[in-house]
Symmetry: C2
Subunit: 182 residues, 2 copies
């Protein structure tokens, strides 16, 4: 759960990071930055700020803004409507992002997100993306990512985004953010 004040503060901070990176957004996009705490009420540990450029039945493009050390928790995009599920490419634009996907686990993962102790993270194949580097995550495969110490801006190019269908490893997670009534 997030309060309106927390959402506004996160939006302003994300907008500042985009501006510093020279990424132009419209006023409507700035006012509509999506702030998600994944229902865990610990936005600065587990959360994401998003500018959704386009999301049609066929194509989706977003800018993900991550605060230092912020984690997008482990999930997968299952098949739906006869499609294999969402395919996404993450391209780092600013900062540094640690991306964890299915595959051989690293011996000493750089990141240890909140929730790891209670089994909310199960894939530990670690990739490090710096500006200009990218990785494509196949549909229906587990992945999660954490920003480096200076935060990160990551472009996401994908098929249609259906957040309501995402399957999270952590049973406590809800993708749709609840706004506290004031």
């Amino acid at each position: 759960m997030l309060t309106q004040d927390q959402i506004q503060e996160a939006r302003q901070r994300a907008a500042r990071l985009l501006e510093e990176a020279g990424i132009a957004i419209t006023e409507a996009e700035r006012d509509g930055i999506e702030v998600s705490d994944f229902g865990l009420s610990e936005l600065h540990q587990t959360g994401l700020e998003l500018v959704i450029y386009v999301n049609t039945q066929r194509v989706c493009a977003k800018e993900l803004v991550m605060f230092p050390g912020q984690t997008c928790p482990e999930h997968r995009h299952p098949p739906f409507d006869g499609t294999p599920g969402k395919e996404e490419t993450f391209r780092c634009r600013r900062g540094l992002v640690y991306l964890y996907v299915e595959g051989a686990p690293v011996e000493r993962p750089t990141c240890r997100p909140a929730g790891a102790d209670r089994g909310a993270y199960t894939v530990w194949h670690e990739l490090v993306l710096t500006p200009g580097q990218q990785h494509t995550v196949p549909p229906n495969t587990l992945h999660w990512f954490q920003a480096g110490p200076e935060g990160a801006i990551v472009s996401e190019f994908s098929t249609q985004s259906r957040d309501d269908l995402d399957v999270f490893t952590d049973p406590d997670i809800a993708r749709i953010t609840v706004v506290a009534s004031s």
Copy 2:
């Protein structure tokens, strides 16, 4: 037709514009910038420089770099393999781009590309995109665009790109650039 020298020069210039815009690309991407003159041998009037980030069967993302006044000539993306054809969103990142699509023609178009006199351009509904502004072009509809006086950088988010299937209005155009043998 382009010479290797012309291609190298265009690549370097495009890489410089990307760098000035703060858009990070890898060395391999820099060396592989696609330079297209659409077979007209007048690159600086009619041409395009492209960094292709990803192009799978489902998703494509590119950065288009355009020199001042450079035009991407009129074309459409026809249906193929049971799909409606390529759907694309153009998002201006730097500079200014005039985008012409199907619809009510403007009375006085800002642009008059080379080839207009011989009927190579037929749609004149004009949109002006500045940084942060975007437009989605439906599959199989005619469109063309020209950079403003300072050039432009435009992100393209789309379904699969199959350049070989593009249909150009100008019968003199060939999408695949011919490199002069030295």
